[in-house]
Amino acid sequence: MAFSDAHGRRLKAAIVRWVIYGATLLTVAVLFGILGYILCNGVPNLTPELFAWEYTTDNVSLMPAFINTILIAALALTIAVPLGIGAAIYLVEYARRGNRFVMVVRAAAETLQGIPSIIYGLFGLLFFVTALGWRLSLMAGAFTLAIMVLPVIMRTTEEALLAVPNAYREASFGLGAGRLRTVFCCVLPTAIPGIVGGVILALGRCVGEVAALLYTAGSVAEVPNFLQQGFAAFFQPTRTLATHLYVLASEGLHTQETFATAVVLLILVITLNLGANFFAKKLGVKREDG
């Protein structure tokens, strides 16, 4: 009786173990399958023409889209990061626990995080593009993206701040530091890795977004000419790399170039992630005055 029990349990454990192995294997296989497929098809097609400064229908250069992607992501994050982190700091460090307002903001952010990006696109179209008269533009796209990633940044920063042990805050207050110094010199540096994680997530969404941008940023494959137009260039329509990929793929005329573009997008995302992580390490180990 006892023997058969132990036997059955061992069998169950073995089954569970194999299911877990199987799931892991499958996940890894799918991941590497996709990566390998894109790389195999894309890398041989990485031709110099793809990186020409000017886009033409013949060379389908990704360069303008590449630059636009960086511009629009940088602009979106410039808006969303300070706002998101600021809001999270307020919610965690300043607002009183159990405050009604805090709960409403938190619930709203959670809901907004789950909304499909096309809804943000629609909002951007109605508000920035039409109501504010920004037309399809870099600015309208960046603001739409900023609104889209704001809840992501806010929520992850909140989690990161909540994960900072209270003992650090007590130690800081106990030394006579005010709330401002406690937050900026003690809590934030400790939370930086988590916050950067959120920013990376947001960055990834900005770089990979198409739906929200089609109706707000447009799909003109040109870099806004800041040199000639100055500030007005912000209101030129732009096409990002992801949009570019979408357009190429849906046209179906340049399959090889499409894969090559996908490789570039992939490398861009990986580089940005690595860069952000490196930056996080530097910031996290805080050393005032060297």
Binding site: A167, Y168, R169, A171, S172, F173, C185, R287
Partner: protein, 261 residues
């Protein structure tokens, strides 16, 4: 009238004192009209069973209770005769009344930055001044020889005992007048504990020390005066030797003889 008595009883005026202190966490009364003096340059131990309000009283002395939602206080806390809640800026109070916690809580930064955190908070920026303070503080906490070559290392890489002494050094770095220690040896091994007890003996020449401890032997070893608490009340206060050998109150007697608690 009451004030007169209090002065005649205590010849030198105390460094800190507490008058008719009541403290409520929401509806729960954690301290019941506590009256207590803490003479300068003495070690005062607070003893009593768990939950009797020792930590709560300690946190009133540097207003860490301000951070607890729903915590309300009546009565007065004096520091050098000034009302700590009305006449002293709270950040100033916490600089003058430093605190060492039960669990070592160094910041996740270098040893140097940990100690420099307080002085920097209070406006000391010059590197050479900070260097001097860091060395002095580490020396006072008997850590300098152990750590002088590792100032750039992360404080979290130290042992528990070293971390706690680092926290003492960090508290000393802002040149406090009073040092509050809440069971600061409870998480440490006997050797680290002995080092910290020895340290307390040395520090009392320069500081007024108030410590919470569960260890009655420790209270006897290091303190000059002891106060016994029970259920939020201060039952008895006196010179340590007398409180342990000839307590006035029966409740004190049964606690110090180990009958309960």
């Amino acid at each position: 009238m009451a004030k007169l008595e209090y002065h005649s009883e205590q010849k030198a005026s105390p460094k800190m004192s507490v008058k008719d202190l009541n403290l409520y966490y929401k509806d729960f009364q954690a301290l019941k009209s506590v009256n207590l003096d803490f003479p300068a340059h003495q070690v005062t131990a607070l003893i009593g069973p768990s939950g009797c309000g020792k930590s709560t009283l300690l946190k009133c002395l540097n207003r860490m209770n301000d951070l607890v939602a729903g915590c309300q206080i009546t009565g007065t806390v004096f520091l050098d005769g000034q009302d700590a809640y009305k006449e002293v800026n709270v950040n100033d109070l916490r600089r003058r009344v430093g605190m060492v916690f039960q669990q070592p809580n160094p910041f996740p930064m270098s040893i140097y930055d940990n100690i420099a955190f307080g002085p920097r908070t209070h406006g000391i920026k010059s590197r050479s001044d900070l260097d001097v303070i860091v060395e002095q503080s580490l020396r006072s906490a008997a850590l300098w020889d152990e750590l002088k070559d590792r100032l750039k290392k992360n404080a979290l890489s130290l042992s528990g005992g070293q971390q706690q002494r680092l926290c003492i050094a960090r508290a000393l770095a802002v040149k406090p007048e009073v040092l509050l220690m809440d069971e600061s040896t409870a998480a440490l091994d006997p050797i680290s504990t002995a080092k910290i007890e020895e340290l307390v003996g040395e520090l009392k020449d320069s500081y007024t020390i108030i410590m919470v401890t569960h260890n009655m032997l420790q209270a006897r070893r290091v303190s000059d005066r002891t106060a016994f608490f029970l259920l939020g009340e201060m039952v008895e206060m006196g010179p340590t030797e007398i409180l342990f050998s000839r307590p006035r109150e029966k409740r004190t007697a049964s606690y110090v003889s180990g009958e309960f608690g």
